[in-house]
């Protein structure tokens, strides 16, 4: 056999071998079997307990599991680097942290699940990715007092919020006078923001949520489209929220339409002339949360972590400028604010359509006014 045909047949053999395994590897992992796993038995048993009895039982079981935990998270490094050591200190558990952006956390979790590899005990990431993981049947039920303290409209099946991302307009105080500070979302369509407003290219969840809000207000579709078109008119499109805030601080942008409030706060704390107070309401809120995996090898330790994260962990979240899911005193952090939750189910079902639509909308922003 010549080298050419040898190589060709090698490639063909590889393809055949792989395609012999079934459909495309990325057509989604086989959903977990319906049989309850050993981990789920633990979740059910301890889920019914409360108070000290629950804590003591978890500590006892965690010790049997070897006091180790594997956590996959998209929590920022500077916060994860505080949260994890505090948890380790409080419980004596040794935590292995895998940190990446939410899309990568999702990919890794799905890939490992499809290969039957038990990588993570707890996955903690953005709403969309958590909802996908839960919808694939990879997470077990997590019940308990702490979960019951979370704002009811965010208590999802298969995962529980640990913190919120809040979208609100942010502005550069040197470039935006008091009379130009936006009061409502509709304000952003004002031509006075032409040339200084910045939109982010992948904020379709924000767009979808706001669109639904305007519809509920009784606006016609054409009017809503015009509103967004006016917003985009003369705007500068950016990629990435963190870069956007950096350029807002530097004065490249005057107003960012939908900034993450914790990024704005961080820039403000470093002395940058940026602000988002008072919030333009209703604020758009998207949950980030955690789920206990059905394949977990350390289910009690996983549960111990979620319990701790929703109690003591929330104070750390709050201290670092993020919005906790439960205030340390047990109250609702979103109380007193008009909140538009991002509809996670809608995102999964219609996300691609909204993404394509938003893409069309922001393309209207390509023409900057002549200088």
């Amino acid at each position: 056999m010549s080298r050419r045909s040898a190589l060709a047949s090698l490639g063909a053999a590889g393809l055949l071998l792989l395609s012999g395994c079934g459909g495309a590897p990325t057509s989604g992992p086989a959903p977990g079997s319906d049989q309850p796993t050993a981990a789920e038995a633990v979740y059910a048993e301890v889920g019914a307990l409360i108070g000290t009895a629950r804590h003591d039982r978890l500590v006892e079981l965690a010790a049997q599991e070897g006091n180790t935990l594997s956590l996959y998270t998209s929590l920022n490094a500077d916060i994860a680097d505080i949260v994890v050591p505090r948890f380790e200190q409080a419980t004596g558990v040794n935590v292995e942290v895998y940190r990446a952006d939410s899309e990568t956390v999702l990919q890794r979790t799905l890939q490992e699940a499809s290969a039957g590899f038990a990588g993570a005990d707890v996955v903690e990431t953005n709403a969309t990715q958590m909802a996908i993981i839960a919808s694939q049947g990879l997470t077990g039920d997590y019940e308990g007092e702490q979960r019951n303290k979370v704002n009811e409209q965010f208590r999802y099946d298969g995962w529980t919020p640990t913190r919120f991302n809040i979208f609100a307009p942010a502005w550069n105080k040197n470039l935006v006078n008091a009379d130009l500070v936006p009061k409502t979302w509709e304000d952003l369509a004002d031509p006075r923001y032409d040339g200084i407003l910045s939109l982010e290219v992948s904020d379709y969840d924000w767009y979808m949520t706001l669109y639904g809000y305007f519809e509920k207000q009784g606006m016609a579709g054409a009017d809503i489209d015009k509103l967004f078109a006016d917003m985009v008119q003369g705007s500068k499109v950016a990629k990435g929220h963190s870069g956007q805030v950096e350029l807002l601080s530097a004065g490249e942008f005057g107003v960012v339409a939908a900034s993450y409030t914790y990024l704005t706060e961080k820039a403000r704390a470093s002395g940058a002339p940026v602000d988002d107070q008072p919030f333009v309401e209703p604020v758009v809120a998207r949950a980030n949360g955690g789920g206990l995996l059905r394949s977990s090898k350390h289910p009690a330790t996983a549960m111990l972590f979620m319990d701790w994260m929703l109690a003591d962990g929330q104070q750390i979240v709050l201290d670092n400028g993020l919005t906790p899911a439960v205030m340390p005193d047990g109250s609702d952090p979103l109380a007193g604010l008009q909140v538009l939750p991002v509809d996670v189910q809608q995102l999964i079902e219609e996300g691609n359509d909204w993404s394509a639509r938003y893409d069309e909308v922001v393309r209207g922003g390509e023409q900057l006014p002549e200088k």
Partner: protein, 568 residues
């Protein structure tokens, strides 16, 4: 008779198969094939199948978009422009550096490496701070003379400028190796026969380095087609969308449209295959080698009265591509947050960001792992490619060009798809590779095969066969010929490839972030984390530190490399 002849034929075949050169070649083909085929097969499989079996749905989704023509148009314009700019700049710099008595030669070293080291995100943001019509420092500088907003980095020309300058070190590395191994006596003869310098450059010098020129052009064209940071940060602001924005978009949907992303990558693959084929065909016409048996010593050309002009040009280039972005980085690193220079800004300067970087818990481990992986991947790839280049250029083995194409394919496979492909295989492999540093090494070796291949092939193509033949006539075996004749002659190209892989592997993110495990962090992940947390001050500080560390290491590599190279 036939019964007697058969064993003899078999014995001869066995002897030929067991020859060291055949064994080494076979082993190399096997390893390269294994590394490159895993992601390629995975890519093709996901592209051409869905849950139900064979499907072309990915192509319909990827190319069915009404704007795809515009995207491809923008991409090609941007890629061709950047490739041309970097090629022109890189070739000119390399020529002046190797062939003339231009002053400030020490600056070349910095100019050739530093833009490579600065992470793409930082390099691009530095340019926003320099040349944005609103806040650009260069614009502020010349505003009193020519009015506001002279430079606008948010245009295709701005994108070409930034990408071209960021890529020019690749061209420089290619061309330095090539100019270093061509015989200047040919140019001297041309000059003596009455040709002008320009004519000589165009008709003698350039054809001599054609293989390297083509290799560099090919790599840079594909690289710019794939570039992400520059189009994302500079293009979007004015609605300039390119091919990669589409790949990004399909990878972001759920379920992640791997078939759509794969279909786009297959388009690039076809283009790249055409490029490899074209580059080899054109190099073949090159006449087989400029390094011949005759001894030569590159003698620098006296620039005469042009010396100050060229020297000034070099200084300007150094300022624009290296010093200005580096100063912006340093300036940003010293501030609590970026703001245009003012008395207040200078008063607020401190070293907090540098202190913070050193206090990041993952940075020491990440630095160690990145050095290990960068050095490991660069060494493994260049060692493999030295042999693979021989197989492709010299061996005469039928079908050897396929090896070239296969080794080039990882260049066009999106990093995430490459990572997922590798994870897919090693999650199911009985070998305990998943979750170790080894899986990252495999990923890096795969990703940088194409660069190694182009560097090594272009080096091999400049060597005349007569040197090998005379070694063999003198009784040297294949091993000795390879080690003592070929290897020293292609050493400049191998070293250039090594330096390139070593440096850029520090920036590899998309497959690293999917495949690393706690304890195996690499530096690019620390960079990403700082970026994601909007900690630009610390990010810039880390950038400055990386430039210092890598520049020293690369200088050492050149010193060590010079001992085994041609110049010894």
């Amino acid at each position: 008779m036939a019964t007697l002849a058969a064993p003899r034929v078999l014995a001869r075949a066995r002897e030929r198969l067991l020859r060291p050169r055949t064994l080494v070649a076979a082993a190399t083909i096997a390893i390269v094939g294994y590394l490159a085929l895993i992601p390629l097969v995975y890519l093709l499989w996901t592209t051409f199948s869905d849950a139900g079996g064979f499907s072309l749905g990915g192509f319909a989704r990827a190319y069915g978009d009404a704007r795809i023509g515009e995207l491809i148009g923008n991409s090609l314009w941007f890629a061709a422009g950047s490739a041309l700019l970097s090629l022109a700049v890189g070739t000119a710099l390399a020529y002046f550096n190797v062939r003339t008595d231009v002053p400030f030669k020490a600056l070349f070293f910095a100019a050739s490496i530093i833009p490579l080291i600065i992470p793409g995100i930082l390099y691009t943001i530095s340019w926003i701070f320099l040349a944005s019509p609103t806040i650009g420092l260069l614009n502020n500088l010349i505003e009193p003379i020519v009015g506001p907003g002279t430079f606008d980095v948010f245009t295709v020309w701005g994108m070409i400028w930034v990408e071209g300058l960021h890529l020019s070190p690749i061209a420089f590395l290619f061309m330095v190796a090539a100019f270093g191994s061509t015989d200047p006596s040919l140019e001297e003869s041309s000059l003596m026969s009455g040709a002008t310098r320009l004519q000589t450059f165009r008709r003698v010098t350039l054809p001599l380095v054609r293989p390297a020129l083509l290799s560099a052009a090919l790599i840079m064209l594909v690289r710019s087609l794939e570039s992400f940071e520059v189009p994302a940060l500079l293009g979007l602001q004015n609605g300039i969308y390119v091919f990669t924005s589409r790949i990004y978009q399909v990878l972001r949907s759920f379920p992640v449209d791997f078939a759509g992303a794969g279909a786009l990558a297959v388009g690039l693959l076809a283009l790249a295959a055409l490029g490899v084929w074209l580059s080899n065909v054109l190099s073949r016409g090159h006449g087989g080698g400029t390094i011949t048996g005759k001894g030569f010593r590159p003698r620098p050309i006296d620039l005469g009265r042009w010396k100050p002009v060229v020297g000034g040009g070099i200084l300007l280039y150094f300022f624009v591509t290296v010093l200005a972005p580096l100063l912006v980085l340093l300036y940003t690193a010293l501030l609590p947050y970026y703001r245009p220079p003012s008395a207040e800004a200078f008063a607020s300067m401190n070293l907090d960001n540098f202190v913070a970087v050193f206090n990041l818990p993952s940075v020491p481990t990440a630095l160690k792992n990145s050095l290990l992986l960068g050095g490991g991947a660069a060494t493994i790839v260049m060692a493999l490619m030295a042999v693979a280049a021989w197989v492709v250029v010299r061996s005469g083995i039928p079908g050897r060009q396929i090896l070239d194409h296969i080794a080039f394919s990882p260049l066009v496979i999106p990093g995430l798809v490459l990572g997922v492909g590798i994870a897919f295989v090693y999650l199911r492999s009985p070998l305990p590779i998943y979750g170790t540093l080894l899986i990252l090494l495999i990923a890096y070796c795969t990703r940088y095969l194409p660069y190694g291949m182009r560097y090594a092939v272009s080096g091999m193509q400049t060597i005349s066969t007569e040197l090998e033949e005379s070694a063999q006539v003198s009784g040297a075996g294949w091993g000795a010929t390879f080690r003592r004749v070929l290897l020293p002659l292609i050493a400049p190209a191998l070293l250039a490839g090594w330096v390139y892989i070593f440096v850029v592997s520090f920036r590899e993110l998309s497959s690293s972030i999917l495949l690393y495990t706690p304890g195996n962090e690499v530096l690019s992940i620390s960079i990403w984390e700082l970026y994601a947390n909007a900690r630009f001050g610390e990010l810039s500080a880390l950038g400055v530190i990386m430039v210092l560390i890598l520049a020293v290491l690369v200088a050492v590599a050149y010193k060590v490399g010079a001992r085994v190279g041609l110049k010894s």
